[in-house]
C-alpha cells in the first residue's frame, strides 16, 4: 500500500516518456522519409528522376520503371537495399548505377532512400 503511490507516480512519467518516445519515433521516421526524398530527387545524389517517374518529382526520364507500389512489390527492405547497393548483381545489363558499391550514396543515405521508397 505504501509503495502504491510511488509506483503509480512513477508510472505517469513513464507513460509520458513512452508517448514522447513514440511521437519522437514517428517524427524521426518522417524526417528520414523527407531526407530520403531529398536524396532521391537531388541531382548530385540519387538523381533517381533521371530514369524513374516518382510521385512529386519533376521532369522524370523514362529509362527505368515508374516507382509505385514499392512496398507491395518489395515487402522486404533488404531487397530494396540490395537494388540500391548494386543492381548489376540482379541484372548485369542494368543501366541503374550501383549507388552503394560506387559510393554514390552512403549506407545511411541508402537507408533513408529506402524509407522513402516504402512510402510510394
Amino acid at each position: 500500500m505504501t509503495d502504491h503511490f510511488p509506483t503509480k507516480s512513477a508510472k505517469l512519467p513513464a507513460l509520458a516518456l513512452l508517448v514522447a518516445l513514440a511521437s519522437a519515433g514517428t517524427a524521426q521516421a518522417q524526417s528520414a522519409v523527407d531526407e530520403g526524398r531529398k536524396l532521391a530527387f537531388d541531382r548530385s545524389k540519387g538523381n533517381c528522376l533521371t530514369c524513374h517517374v516518382i510521385k512529386g518529382g519533376n521532369l522524370p526520364g523514362t529509362i527505368g520503371p515508374e516507382l509505385v507500389d514499392i512496398k507491395s512489390k518489395y515487402p522486404k527492405r533488404e531487397d530494396l537495399v540490395a537494388i540500391l547497393n548494386d543492381e548489376t548483381l540482379r541484372n548485369p545489363l542494368t543501366v541503374m548505377p550501383p549507388f552503394g558499391r560506387n559510393r554514390i550514396l552512403t549506407e545511411k543515405e541508402i537507408d533513408a532512400v529506402v524509407d522513402f521508397l516504402q512510402t510510394l
Binding site: 548485369p92 545489363l93 543501366v95
Partner: protein, 288 residues
C-alpha cells in the same frame, strides 16, 4: 566536384558479355576483329529496334526518335541556329594565313566535300586522324596557333566543312594494316566499357537506351551519331564539336573526361564513324 575523384572502371568483359546477352550481336563472339560484320550487325540492330525510322534519318539524333521533337526541329531548321557559325567558318576558310596559304592547301579537294572521309587512319603515323586534329595541324604547319577543340572557331570550321559535304555518305576506310584494326578495336572497346562513378558505357546510353528520356533529354542512337557534328545546342547556347560532346558525356557519368583528341577519343570516333558508313553527313546540326 569531389565525387569526380572516385572512378570505377568496370571490366570490359562485362560490357562485352552484356551486349551479346542483350541480343545485340554487335561484337563477334570470338576475338577475330571483323569490322565489316560489325557494321552490318550494328546497322541491323538499329533498323530492327526502330523499324519506323528511315535509315538516313538516324543522323538526326534525338529528333529521329520522337515525332513531336522531329516536328519542332523542322520548324527550327527554317532559321537554323548554327547559321552564324557556318558563315564565320566559311569566311575563316577562305581567309589566308599570315604566310599566304589557306586551309584549302592542307586538304584533298581544297577541303570541300570531304567530311565523310574523316577520321582516317594515317599509315605513316600509325594513328587515327580526325578532322578537328587535321585542322589544328594545318594551322600549326602554317605557323598559326591551334584553336581550342571544343567550340567557337573549331566548331565554325568543321561546320563549314560538314556543310559542303551534306548528303554524302560516310565513307570510312580501314586500311589493311594491323595498327588500323587495333585502333578500330580499341575504339570499340572504349565504347562498350562501363566507367565513371555512375557505371555507364557510351553504349549504355546510345545503344541500350536511345529514344528514352534521361530527365528531359531524349537519347540519340549510336548509329549516325557523329554525322551531324558539330552541333548547336540550346543547352550550351552555342556550338560544340565532337570533342565537346565526348567530354561532356564523360563528365555526365562522373568519369574524368580524357583530353580532347586523346588517342582513345580518336579511336572511338573512328569506330563510330566506320559503323555508320553509308549514312549521310548532315552537319552542322541543331539540338534542343
Amino acid at each position: 566536384m569531389k565525387l569526380r575523384s572516385a572512378i570505377f572502371l568496370a571490366s570490359a568483359t562485362i560490357a562485352l558479355a552484356a551486349l551479346t546477352l542483350a541480343g545485340a550481336p554487335l561484337l563477334a563472339a570470338d576475338d577475330k576483329i571483323d569490322p565489316v560484320a560489325d557494321a552490318k550487325a550494328f546497322q541491323k540492330f538499329f533498323r530492327d529496334k526502330f523499324p519506323k525510322v528511315k535509315f538516313e534519318d538516324f543522323v538526326n539524333g534525338p529528333y529521329s526518335m520522337n515525332e513531336d521533337l522531329y516536328r519542332q526541329w523542322q520548324e527550327k531548321e527554317q532559321f537554323p541556329p548554327y547559321e552564324f557559325s557556318l558563315e564565320m567558318g566559311k569566311e575563316m576558310f577562305s581567309k589566308p594565313f599570315k604566310n599566304g596559304k589557306t586551309y584549302a592547301d592542307c586538304f584533298p579537294n581544297g577541303g570541300i566535300g570531304i567530311r565523310q572521309n574523316y577520321p582516317y587512319f594515317d599509315e605513316k603515323e600509325g594513328k587515327v586522324i580526325t578532322l578537328e586534329l587535321a585542322l589544328n595541324r594545318c594551322r600549326e604547319a602554317n605557323g598559326e596557333p591551334p584553336y581550342s577543340y571544343v567550340k567557337d572557331e573549331m566548331a565554325a570550321l568543321t561546320a563549314y566543312m560538314a556543310f559542303t559535304s551534306r548528303g554524302k555518305p560516310m565513307d570510312i576506310k580501314i586500311p589493311n594494316d594491323p595498327r588500323a584494326l587495333a585502333a578500330y578495336e580499341n575504339g570499340k572497346e572504349y565504347f562498350y566499357t562501363r566507367r565513371g562513378q555512375l557505371n555507364f558505357s557510351c553504349a549504355t546510353c546510345h545503344v541500350q537506351s536511345p529514344g528514352e528520356r534521361i530527365r528531359a533529354e531524349v537519347l540519340a542512337p549510336a548509329l549516325g551519331i557523329v554525322n551531324a557534328m558539330p552541333i548547336y545546342r540550346s543547352e550550351w547556347s552555342g556550338m560544340g564539336t565532337t570533342s565537346r560532346r565526348f567530354t561532356t558525356c564523360n563528365s555526365q557519368i562522373r568519369a574524368v573526361p580524357l583530353s580532347p583528341q586523346d588517342d582513345e577519343y580518336r579511336n572511338v570516333e573512328y569506330y563510330l564513324s566506320y559503323v555508320s558508313n553509308g549514312l549521310p553527313i548532315s552537319g552542322p546540326g541543331a539540338r534542343p
